[in-house]
Every structure is written in C-alpha cells, then in structure tokens.
Symmetry: C2
Subunit: 402 residues, 2 copies
C-alpha cells in the first residue's frame, strides 16, 4: 500500500457526486479535482508558480514521453519529477499504456478514446480508415513500440513501467494496461482485458515504493466486461482507481460505462476518469461518482487561440464555452472573459492576445493557457462548493444551459 | 518640451561614468539603465510581472513592427502601449529608422551596426557581399519600404513616425533618422546626416504631446561628422539624446565615436546608445558617459539556449559570459549560475532547461529569457552601486578579467 488517504467529505443527495479530501505524499487536494497535464514534465507554456497561484492542486506527467526524453534515470538524478519540474504538490504519472494505444489503434483505426474524437463531428459510426502503419505491438510480455521521435525500438513491460514511474517519483502511479479502441471487437476487448489484468498483477508485484498505485478499469463499452473489470480491480488492494480505455461511441455510452463501473468500485477510494475534461463530460461524470479528471485540452486549445468563456459571458453547451481569438472577436476592448479573475483577464485584452498569437509572440501561449487552466480549475472549485452546499443541480443547470 | 527630468546623482572620479535619476511620465528610473526590448509590444516569452519583479526599469518597443501589426491606431484604441502590453513603467519607442537600415543597407551590404556583427568573427574588413535586394529606399520625404510580411508599400515620414509614436504613447520617443552602414562612404554619410537633421527638425515640428523627444546623433565613424552632429543636436531643445548609426569597424572605433559625441552633448540630459548591450560594450560606454542601453540579445540568445554566467561562476570576456545549454554542460545538477538569484536559477536546473529546450517546450524560452534579462539588469544595478561607491574600476576589472 502506498501513501494515500481518501476521505469523502460531502455527498450530493441527488446523485453520486461527492467531495473528498485526498492526501498523498506531496500534499493534499480536494476532489472532484482537475489534474493539469504536463506531458513532458512541463505544463505547456505555463510556469508552475502560476499553477499554484491559480489553485491547481495536482499535475500529471507521461511516462512514455519522459522515458524517451530525458529518460527516467536522468529525472531520478535530478531528484525526481517534483524537483525536476519545480512542482512540489501532488502528482500522477501514467503508465505509458495510453501511448501504446495512440501509437497503435489510434493510428490504425483513425480513432480516439471515443470514436467521434477523430472523425468529423456527427460521423460516429463511419467505417474506420487505417491511416498509417501502427507503431506499437502488444505482446503478453508488454508493449513493443517504435519511438515517434527516432523509430528506436522499446519494450515497455509492466515491470519497466513501474520501475520508470518509481524513478519519476509521482505520488500516484498507474499499472500498465492496454487501451482498446471503440472499434475493437468484443473478443479482442475481452482478451485484452485479461491481458491488462495480468499486467496489473505484475505491476502490483513489481511495485516497491510508498507511491500510491492505481488500478485501471478496462472493458470498452461492453457491460459484462466493464463489470468484470470493476470487480476484479475492486478485489485488488489498489490505493486508487482509474477508468480507462474506450468509452464508447457516444456520451450515453460513456455514462453507462461510468454507472456500471462506479456501482462496483469501492466508495472509499478515489476514481479517476482518464483523459476526459470537457465541461459537459465533467458534470456527467461527477454525478456518476468520478473524483478526478485529466485532459490536455485547456492548454492545447489555448495554443490554437481557442479560449474558454463562462456562462455569465455567453459560454454554453452550443459554443462549448469557447471563443476563437484568431477569428472575429467582438468586444475587442475587453478581456477574454470579463467574468474571469485569471491573471490574463485581469491584465490583458482580447486584442492584445490576438496580436501576440497572430505575430507568434511566445507570451501569447502562456497567457491563453493560463486563462484556460484557470477556467477549468475554477469550474472544479464551483463544483466542490455546490456539492457541499447541496446546489449541484443548480450549478449544472447554469453551466449546461443554452 | 516633453515630460523628462534628469538629475546626475553621482560621478565616477576616474571617468565620465555617472549615475542619474531619470523621471518621465510613467515613473522614474536610475541610470545607467538597461532598456529591455519588447519589439512587438512583448518582451519575448516573458511576462511583464516577471520584468517588474526582477527590477527592469524601462522597456522599448519598435515603431516599424507595431505600425504593421497591429497598427498604431489599434494600439491607441486599447489606450496606448502601456495598457496594451501591461507595462505601466517608463517606455521608449524608436522611430522606425533603424528598420529602414535593416531593410536597406543591412541587407544590401550584409552588415550590422558594426561590420563585424554579420561576417564571421575577425573578418571585419572583408568586402561586403550584397545578399538580397533591399526592401527600403530613402528619399527626402522619408523612408519608402516594403513590409517584410507581405511586401505592402509604406512611406514612413518624420511626421508619420511621430504621429505613430504619439499614438503608441511611450514616455520617450525618437526622431526619424537614417542609420548608415559602416561601409557607407564619407560623402554618403555626410549627405545622410544632413537629411537626418532635416528629418529631426520635421520630427520636432510635428511633435505635439508631452512625451519626451530624443534627438539622434549620426555621423558614422567620421570624426568631423560626429562632432557636427553632436553640436547640431546639442543646439536643439531635445529632451534627451540617442547615439545611433554606424559605430565603426571595431570597439576602438566605437569608443572614439562616444568620446567625440559625449564631449559635446549637454551633461544634464540622458544619453542612450542605441542597440548595444554586450557586457564589455556596456563598461566601455558607461565610462564614456552613456546613461542608457537597449539590446535584444538577452532574449534572443536565451531562445537559442545561450545563457549568461557571472564572473563568480566563470563568466569572462573570453567566453562572453555565456554557456550553451544545448551543448555539453557541466554541473548538470546545478542551475545555470549558482551565483544568480533569478527566478529560474533559484528553481530549475540546467538539466531541466536543456530538456525543455531540446523538446521544444515553450516554458524553456521563458525561463532562459528571464535568466538573461536578470543577468543584465543586475549588472546595471552593480554598475550604479559601484559608481556611487567610487569602485567602478574595481567592478570593471572583476567583470572584464579572463
């Protein structure tokens, strides 16, 4: 057992939404929490001081990227990820398994975790189009992949993943798993699930430190497989749980998967929905018992000039709480969002940000990324407050209107 | 007369080095001062809060770049440059004249302000190699140039330059001048000087606001022309003075130019050496009576992974107070410079910075730029302290040793 204590502090009477206090080696955080992604040991363009200042509680870095550059040993020599990247708070690393998916199925099937992510909107069911040869191969031993950087060959076994994550030194680490595609057959998904469970056992056996270890529930969109996986994981003495793999072909698929899974996972351990973080996804998942989310979209969208606006400023489900700074922007004189209290909105105009982005000035990326991270961080603060105050449904109605 | 008050506060007994208090519309600063360049209304990759925190006193933005994007009117609509870029302290804009040089002679002659800047080190006297057609043409009316962005035609007259700078709203603005090349003949430089003086008169006549207006001393490396230009400028009621144009073919040429010029410019007005900021240049110019410097090199070098180290950490004239983070770097565990107190060196290792730069992580540019700006800002603080304490020569000896 690693260092992890989870205390449920409040429950929403009308749903499975709950608040919690999660205590890990490098500090504590309140849940539901958004985990800010710093893929290569850096939250892109944003200084860790800024993250602290805006209330970010926890970050996540990627084992796959860091094992290639600079290498786990190099990070360990610098005293681990916390010291390396200047983040002294709670931190998660993933196992590298998702990148096997990205290098494998995502390439071969032309899909994301939900089919609709890759094809054009609304075309959820079109036939998959193989796009490029995949770069990863799954064997019982582990994941054999070619680096996306130089095509060098690497074997990522459960033991190697744990060893790397122990060298990196995050507070919560993940077992190695295979992330299947929404287009994978029942048979493939079932066999993959068993493989993931064997890898999880090997991950558990290899784990030697006081880092918390999270199991991952797989099973695609198949009810019996998800239930089997949830039961299998619940029976293992993991410190924490993550829900991974294909989340189906629609939001409704995702909701069902969460309902099957969270009815089984132990109530007294935190549940992390991997790689999801849209506003509507967050509300739907929180009320189905999810405690943690991670997603790269706040910083990725920001670098594209896509920034979030709150409901008070016109953000809604139809516009996805987004405006495009590079497109036509009204109210050029004001900030991105007059209802936002971030260090970008309180100091800079849309016009200035657009100028920075259109001229390629690097500061622009930092300022828009800061705004989007603040947006999602404050949303989670509001969600926690609402659960405690018994006003979760009101908050949800306010955000999802329109 | 614009808003500018300059008070000499101390003098070095052994040279013309002096400290001063310069008061302008948006605040005051101590001289000698390093002016941090924010070409397109942004000090590349660095948040203005970071500039304030490290003690940066004054910034400079470029009329040429801002007239093209986003346009002076767009900046004025946002309340001027201070509000636009979130810098509420003293600020300078240049006149756009130097870019006419960059687009003209610098392209045609393949040179910089000193010949040695463009060719390989040590080849000061090689024949100039025309490289590309120049993009600017000088007429009596002004500078006709093609935008480097879209080849659109623009005419920058003295009146237009002043109008733009008034819209931008910096504390100190510059007259339009022509910057000649170190390879320009005596006759060309002489005729250009007279043109610059006619433009200066027109700039002066066009100037209507309370911004301080600086004259620019031209004349290349020709003694009689520099003396003539210094006298002409000294007789004009400019608030401040800048020394521009070709600074010759060697450091000794530059020193002579400064000696000719500063013997004539009024002692009670600040003197700005345009576009120069190397450590050895700064010491040589300060002791010849220069009060202000600006240079893009701290941030430009930083983005290339070239960072400064202080004498205590091995920085000297031979290595130009530089190490290359992308090359082989010893003491990987430590910061760039253990003797540096900047927010990068107190938090991050060379190994991390190298990781960020080699993976293209945007944070790397911010952190190295912050370090280099801190380095030069602290150098100027030390110079001011040394002048006041009568230890300027000792400080110079410490820095220029090796």
């Amino acid at each position: 057992m690693g260092i992890l204590k989870f205390t449920v502090t409040a429950k929403d009477p009308g749903s499975l939404a709950r608040t919690g206090l999660l205590e890990v080696k490098h500090g504590s955080l309140e849940t539901p929490a958004f985990i800010v992604v710093g893929t290569r040991a850096s939250v892109k363009a944003v200084d860790p001081r800024e993250l602290k200042a805006m209330g970010v509680q926890i970050t996540l870095a990627n084992t796959y990227h860091l094992m290639l550059r600079p290498g786990a040993e190099a990070v360990a020599e610098q005293g681990g990820l916390h010291s390396f990247m200047g983040w002294d708070g709670p931190m998660v690393t993933d196992s590298g398994g998702f990148q096997a998916f990205s290098l494998g199925f995502a390439i071969e099937h032309g899909v994301g975790k939900m089919v609709k992510m890759f094809p054009a909107e609304g075309k959820h069911d079109r036939a998959p189009v193989p796009q490029r040869p995949k770069l990863a191969k799954i064997t019982d031993e582990g994941i054999l992949f070619h680096s996306h950087l130089d095509a060098s060959k690497h074997m990522l076994t459960p033991e190697r993943s744990i060893d790397i994550q122990e060298k990196l030194g995050a507070d919560i680490i993940l077992v190695l798993d295979e992330c299947t595609s929404p287009l994978s057959t029942y048979e493939y998904t079932r066999d993959s699930l068993e493989l993931s469970h064997r890898w999880a056992e090997r991950s558990f056996a290899a784990h030697k430190t006081d880092q918390a270890l999270a199991g991952i529930v797989q099973g695609g969109a198949y009810e019996d497989l998800r239930i089997h996986a949830a039961k299998w994981n619940a029976a293992m003495p993991f410190d924490s749980y993550a829900i991974g793999g294909s989340l189906g072909k629609s939001k409704d698929d995702m909701w069902r998967i969460l309902e099957w899974t969270n009815a089984i996972l132990p109530e007294n351990k935190p549940r992390h929905l991997l790689g999801i973080g849209g506003v509507d996804d967050v509300f739907g998942a929180v009320e189905r018992g999810i405690d943690m989310f991670d997603c790269i979209s706040p910083t990725r969208l920001a670098r594209m000039g896509i920034v979030h606006i709150r409901p008070e400023s016109g953000g809604n489900a139809a516009n996805k709480w987004r405006i495009h700074l590079n497109g036509s922007v009204k109210a050029e004189k004001g900030p991105i969002d007059p209802a936002c209290g971030c260090s970008t909105c309180t100091r800079f105009s849309r016009a200035y940000l657009r100028h920075l982005l259109s001229t390629g000035e690097l500061l622009g990326f930092a300022l828009t990324s800061t705004h989007n991270l603040y947006f999602i961080t404050k949303l989670f603060e509001e969600i926690r407050q609402a659960i405690k105050a018994g006003t979760y449904q009101d908050l949800k109605a306010k955000w999802l209107a329109g």
